[in-house]
Symmetry: C2
Subunit: 417 residues, 2 copies
């Protein structure tokens, strides 16, 4: 298989997740420009303006070495509600020490001055190469131009401007009927390289026109992240720069979500999860060099922890991943990965494994009716589910992953060169 074949396949899986009409969100304006520091012929800086009186919730990377912009964003959002997000692609401003912090702050300062707003209302986001200092001037010089072009239709341009090694833009948008009122949820994201999301930072910015109490917004963000972005990464949010923001502009006056357990909140959460899941699947489908979108579903566990443990061990096994790339129903590799998951007293005689609907292993041994041809057929698909039944309990959890292809190596070996 040539690199080109593989990349074509890859684009087609990413495409399968589907394209939506993009609905602007009242209270959000966006614009972009080209700093040209790393990429030629494309925009690489975006500013998102958030209307006053919005609520904003955020989750950040758990990596011990969070990047300068993450430090600044955490400090600023702790002080006040953000009004401006400034995002640059190509340089992560990570591992850059005090100079990096000063550079991030300098960008915020320029944005704040241009907007006549306090510097704390500006959050910086960076993604790209680690360990090189930002060319601050090339970014700050663009701020007036970007401000002049802020507009509610800027979502697609922003989605494109924040990409790094991504092959496709990630954008999702929906309208949800809540108690007779039509509300909008729209989001953009970037990220790929989902074997482990080290440097392939995940950024996501989702906004709605609903009015939502800040504490409730934070809760809704966590719920939706745990059903979406946190199921496509190996170690949770562990890049140095990962961040996910949820903005509620409150431009729709009819609805106010001020409790997490109301019917209104539940309806909204359903729509929010749909958007986040759509973005997450676009990310994992765009996994570097990925040719397959694979759901790993672990059932019959004693608790969620052990289900996730088994799912991640299988999803991270390079041998399972290369078998997926080869469309080889090599269940032995799946079984060996399950066997080394950190779960006490696993009994092979209770384990069953399915590829989609095809039972491959039944209670520890090849299923009687299983034929290699059946397995091959499923493995040819660009999307499939590996289902593992542990025979220990009633809990089920799932995650999404991709295969490991020549292109993964190619993309990551050549990233800086």
């Amino acid at each position: 298989m040539s690199a080109n074949d593989s990349i074509n396949n890859k684009q087609s899986i990413a495409g399968e997740v589907g394209k939506n009409t993009i609905f602007p969100v009242s209270g959000i304006r966006l614009a972009t420009a080209a700093a040209g520091t790393k990429y030629q012929d494309r925009d690489d800086v975006a500013i998102i303006e958030i209307a006053l009186d919005s609520s904003v919730a955020a989750v950040f990377t758990k990596n011990a070495f969070c990047a300068a912009p993450v430090q600044i964003a955490r400090e600023h959002i702790a002080k006040t509600t953000p009004q401006y997000l400034v995002i640059n692609a190509g340089n992560a401003n990570a591992g850059t020490g005090q100079q990096g912090y000063a550079n991030g702050l300098e960008i915020c300062t320029v944005v704040a001055k241009t907007a006549s707003a306090p510097v704390e209302t500006v959050l910086p986001f960076s993604t790209g190469v680690i360990g090189e200092q930002l060319q601050v001037d090339s970014i700050t010089a663009l701020v007036p131009t970007i401000f002049a072009s802020l507009n509610e239709q800027g979502w697609e341009a922003a989605a494109a401007a924040i990409l790094t090694t991504d092959l496709v833009t990630k954008i999702a948008s929906t309208k949800v009927d809540i108690d007779g009122t039509e509300v909008t949820i729209t989001g953009i994201a970037k990220g790929s390289g989902m074997i482990r999301p080290d440097m392939a930072t995940m950024l996501a910015f989702v906004a709605t026109d609903v009015k939502i109490k800040p504490e409730v917004l934070q809760h809704l963000l966590k719920e939706s992240v745990s059903e979406s972005f946190n199921r496509i990464t190996v170690d949770g949010d562990t890049s140095t720069n990962d961040a996910c923001l949820l903005i509620a502009t409150g431009k729709i006056n009819d609805i106010y979500i001020n409790k997490t357990d109301s019917e209104t909140a539940r309806k909204f959460l359903q729509g929010l999860i749909q958007i986040c899941k759509s973005l997450a699947l676009k990310i994992v489908s765009d996994g570097e060099g990925a040719t397959k979108l694979v759901r790993v579903l672990v059932k019959e566990g004693k608790n969620a922890d052990e289900c996730f443990n088994v799912a991640y061990t299988v999803a991270h096994s390079p041998l399972v991943k290369t078998a997926l790339f080869a469309s080889d129903p090599n269940w032995g590799r799946i079984l060996a990965a399950v066997g080394r998951a950190d779960v006490d007293t696993l009994d092979i005689n209770k384990i069953s494994i399915f590829l989609d609907h095809v039972c491959v292993i039944e209670k520890g041994v090849p299923a009687e009716k299983y034929t290699e041809m059946d397995g091959n057929e499923i493995m040819q698909q660009s999307a499939l589910t590996i289902e593992i039944r542990l025979g220990r309990g009633t809990i089920a959890e799932h995650i999404w992953t991709t295969d490991l292809s020549y292109d993964y190596v190619k993309i990551n070996a050549e990233y800086r060169t």
Copy 2:
């Protein structure tokens, strides 16, 4: 870089570990033959005969799903001292259920009958594809022929017969002077695919002519394994078939090691570790598609656990591994991996990173004197050390790993096809 370039590089790193003269071990005879079940034009079955009155110690895989031969070997060695080891390559007899167990036992039975020995004195070892039943007859038919050719010079033939995806044979041999007596230690091993050793089973058989008390032998085996084979695998001994045997034939009457803390034991252990380490480095250097042998050294930790945790997180990062393949001193990926290791309260301002002697990161930021050229020079080498100083304590631990190349994907994607 073409596949051929890479494989040539790889053979050269494997070769660098060095070739020894192979000294036979009095009391050990070996022979091989070709069952032809998977491989053409090569031997794939070996029998090792152990003289009566020997001591034998063993460690087996910790994978919850150990293969049928491992179950049988464990049961047999618990009952009596082994006299025969029978090893087949190409089929792991794993995930094969009761039929697999019966097949393994059948092979032992035929060997035992041929030798007029109890079946419990025979241990079976299998390596290769998981989940296919052994073609027992093609193996048992060879047993008389193999017995007829057992000889003390059979080490190299046995080393070759047990290989699967390995590119080079792994054999090491030394003579050690202990209190004026020359003793021999010789071993063979197989294994590659050391990103994670799932299916790429590691087998090692090491023998000496020294007389050693069984409990002491087990202790010496564990000590030497922890300094060698257990430092080249990600999850310890976690393939379904991993096994390591240490045999003391006791043919040299002058020395009897019956205490673990004697000077004699220490001298012997030194030689044993040398052999095990040599075999382990041959395995990791032969890692599937590997072009580099990389030691990850973590210093200044609070305890061994956290040093290993950081070392494994770095060694397993596909992004670090692909950067190594590209000879790219991309320390940002190393730093990001350290940051997501499961270690509490890591402080980036105390972390330093070296590539061999070159300081790249000093207390969290790029070292003042560091230049990309210096980093590049180290990364061009086929062997190098990534040294990470945590600035938290005085403990140091190291492991060995390899890079992640196109060939890794190629070899593992095409293993069964």
